[in-house]
Symmetry: C2
């Protein structure tokens, strides 16, 4: 057993230096300050009591420090996973009830189990089937749904729904009940946060702060909004004005929580847990890879599954909610100079201290402030220019992206992601089932062959070189037969057909039968079939089949060799 693979902590802990300790400690303090409001806010978004967000930011961070391969990834509750948690639990129980909270625990445990098992079985590649356009469309649409879902907290009204249509409908009908003090607090926080994103950094720089410090300080601005609005709420007794506060939070560290073992609940949440796991993993790995590349480090996606899986198990068993590697917190951690995963462990200590000592103050925090921090945070997720970019590059990718966005907005997050994946796989199969092919000729003065329609090339009568630009497999085997027979019926003089195969990465059993059929039909028509540039792995397979025995022509290493042999022209050299 490879301990270093399964315990990446063994790779860095033995060389952990004093300098690194200092860097990690500084980063941890900054991330802790940023994480407190974020954790509370995302718990709220998931329909959970605010302290659950804190619980989910203690044990998971410590565990990830042991099992994770990214030096700087910071795990915890994130916006999209919280939205998916809320959507998954909505049919199960009323938000905030004990059954609902137990459901969140179970989701974290199930997600943890799934990720860990996938990691041990090295199934990380499955996440690749979430294409860039689908994941980007999904995150944009989720951002829009999340922002809309928080408006009710800003206006202090009741509303519900897990897709844009329901949310907006419910919001409009409740708008008459707007609570003005809530709107003032929430709107004020929102304006401050928007302002600080845009103007605080230049201001701080002007005041003489180093650019990096200014940057980090700007990113922790939410804590300022939290402190000020909490003080205002306490001083003015805003709860008596109808402003909803976070309210009494159990103080003390989380205790061991046993997840439900009810099979019906497990099967009800299985699909949701899988989607939360895969989406969270993709988000986490792309953040981790981006940060690792900046410092010439590497992350191991399969081990990341184990890191995230164990972190989720830790979250569930300590009364938390599904967690994953978050973008904004990881960037802050990175920019603040974290050098090893120990920074995450120190952050866990910071959050634990907050849970122990700050809960009386948190009780006075207006929910509208948290809603404002969420809206500002998810605004960065919405990437509309990506739509235009994808549209320009590929209609196919755009189609999958648009389907994901539309279904996420009008139906549900789960329908959106499933439709996106199914559509992108379907479109890929469709594309490969009708491959591009080209008759090629010799580029004069070289040994290189290109498409006769695009390049000025030499041809040879009676010998046709056909390049097929796809692996030959069941979906296009019959298409190949039709292409070749069409070509042959158009050229009655043909004596030799060379199938140029540099793009053929695979010939499966169906395609082999089609090649046999082509060979036989060409033979009947008095022509020979040849192959050229067959790749090593493909050739290995063909050896030992009857096809090679039956083949009317030869197999040439290069197309130029075939050209020389079949046209009887002297070699250049």
């Amino acid at each position: 057993m490879n301990f270093k693979r399964y315990l990446p902590i063994l790779q860095w802990a033995p060389h952990y230096s004093r300098n690194q300790v200092t860097s990690d400690l500084i980063a941890a303090v900054i991330v802790t300050v940023m994480l407190i409001p974020q954790s509370l806010a995302y718990a709220l978004l998931a329909g959970l009591p605010a302290h659950v967000g804190l619980y989910a930011s203690i044990l998971p961070l410590a565990i990830y420090a042991v099992f994770g391969t990214s030096r700087t990834l910071s795990v915890g509750p994130v916006a999209v996973a919280s939205l998916m948690t809320a959507a998954a639990l909505a049919p199960l129980a009323e938000a905030g009830t004990p059954e609902y909270i137990a459901g969140a625990v179970l989701l974290a445990v199930m997600s943890g189990l799934m990720l860990t098992v996938m990691g041990v079985m090295r199934l990380g590649f499955l996440a690749n089937f979430l294409s860039h356009p689908v994941i980007s469309g999904f995150i944009t649409a989720s951002g829009i749904v999340i922002a809309a879902s928080q408006l009710k907290h800003l206006f202090g009204i009741q509303s519900s729904g897990h897709n844009l249509i329901d949310i907006v409908g419910s919001l409009l009908s409740g708008l008459a009940d707007t609570n003005l003090p809530t709107l003032l607090v929430g709107g004020g926080a929102l304006l401050f946060l928007v302002w600080s994103r845009r103007y605080l950094k230049p201001l701080l720089s002007k005041l003489g702060l180093a650019p990096r410090a200014a940057d980090i300080f700007t990113k922790t601005a939410p804590i300022l909004a939290v402190v000020v609005t909490t003080l205002v709420a306490w001083a003015l007794r805003l709860d008596e004005q109808g402003v909803r506060l976070v309210g009494a939070v159990p103080s003390g560290l989380p205790s061991f929580t046993m997840p439900s073992l009810e099979p019906s609940v497990w099967s009800q949440l299985a699909v949701s847990a899988l989607l939360i796991s895969v989406v969270g993993f993709v988000e986490s790995v792309s953040v981790g890879q981006t940060l690792a590349a900046k410092r010439r480090q590497r992350i191991d996606p399969d081990q990341e599954l184990i890191g995230l899986g164990t972190a989720n198990l830790g979250s569930g068993f300590s009364g938390g909610m599904p967690v994953t590697g978050g973008f904004s917190r990881s960037v802050v951690n990175f920019d603040a100079g974290a050098e090893t995963p120990a920074a995450g462990a120190y952050t866990a200590v910071g959050i634990a201290l907050a849970t122990l000592f700050l809960t009386p103050a948190i009780a006075w925090l207006p929910q509208a402030t948290l809603a404002a921090t969420i809206i500002v945070a998810v605004a960065t997720l919405i990437d509309l220019p990506a739509l235009a970019r994808t549209f320009r590059y590929s209609r196919t990718d755009f189609g999958a992206m648009l389907a994901t966005i539309v279904l996420t907005l009008v139906h549900s997050v789960e329908a959106g992601i499933i439709a996106g994946v199914a559509l992108s796989i379907g479109l890929f199969l469709y594309r490969t089932s009708r491959p591009h092919s080209a008759v090629v000729g010799l580029v004069p003065g070289t040994e290189h062959f290109r498409n006769v329609l695009r390049h000025d090339v030499e041809l040879c009568p009676k010998v046709t070189f056909l390049r097929v630009d796809e692996s030959l497999y069941f979906a296009n085997a019959r298409f190949l037969e039709e292409t070749v027979m069409d070509l042959v019926s158009r050229e009655p003089e043909l004596t030799d057909l060379v199938l140029v195969c540099p793009a053929v990465n695979l010939i499966d059993a169906s395609a082999l039968e089609s090649l046999e059929a082509i060979n036989e039909r060409l033979h009947d028509a008095g022509a020979r079939l040849h192959l050229s540039e067959v790749k090593g792995p493909v050739m290995d397979r063909l050896k030992g089949t009857e096809f090679l025995e039956h083949l009317g022509g030869g197999v040439y290493l290069s197309t130029y060799e075939a050209w020389q042999a079949l046209t009887n022209r002297p070699a250049i050299a």
Copy 2:
């Protein structure tokens, strides 16, 4: 509107010669004689009254002559589609009841609608997703299930079930009730048919018959078994001995039948109708293509969908059952010298005459005789050597084939086919998600580049040529990033990386982002990314993207050009 496309009859009817009329008429007589017992038998297999098989062999043949593109395909009830019909209708009603018969009519109409719509929308390519190994495994397993299901008629006992386990179990428990006269009739017919398959043709040749005539006469042997056993049953009043006969058949031509319009039945049969349509289409097209190729003719798969679709509509509206192009009858039609689809129309007339005048005689036909003809017919479908052949060539294809066979045998035909398709698509995606790649070098004295591990090639320090053997798309985009970064981390001296792209048939939006990332990371590492042998269609897409602007290196038409430019070696010529 292209009339000739949608009405292939316009292509041959205007030139229909007297010679062709004669050939077609002779073929029609022979096929009619063969088709009568076959039609009755397959209706029985589908759990329908025997005359339904005759109804399904009149109008469909006439319609296919107008809309079909194969000159020699003969449509009608076939073994596999009949088994699938029985499996589809079993949950709906008791076999033979009016609801059951109405269900068969509806299946034919739905299948007809689906095929016609697919034809008009040119969706024939969808059938390609049934790979050769899956369809071959499916037909083998269906043949076994069909043969087993007919044993009850041979033994004259009751039994039921739509998979091998149920059928054999039910058969064993009923064996004590075997009816001896039935077994004698059925066993006798079976022995005669097996004998005639093996020895009748040599015998006839010895007696001086021309080989082709001997062949055709041998294939119509079932009619002899039918005539003899019918006479025996009538002469000995075998029905009084417990031998089950076909019984009273309504005489006269089929009349117009209105299918059920109950939405619940439609939705219940939708999946079955689709599977029957697709499997029937695949079977039909492969038979049609094989026969067409022998005479240098072509068939148009999309128009074939319309031909089969309208034939099924005709079958349904005239009280029939799902039909498709059958292998054995088409081969007989072809061998008997049919030259145009008119032969099918003449056959329809022959079957209509039989329906009008032979029904009193058919009433005395023992069911055991029909069971014997089915068993002998499906024995040719079972192709066990194909399993070994597929196993040797490709474990992946074999896996999909085996799953299809096992599920068809132990569960149901529908589960078998669905599992086979899903598994073959899944395995294909898995293979493309982990593409083969190779560092390549120059084959000395040529301009050709091959794998350094397989060939003795020239290399150049600091410049690496990496050939990726797959289209770059979402499923392998991240894999590409990992491959390249692994390579770079192993070669610290590297200054230039050339991605050799002859096998890259597609770069989707996800892969484009990965290439951007690779380019950027190489730049950070002080190296340049180049591309070579990018194909026309791929290059067209890349033009206009930011990737080409950001690209650190160049794009070379051929890998040899890149070699010359980057290694500063003189050209050969």
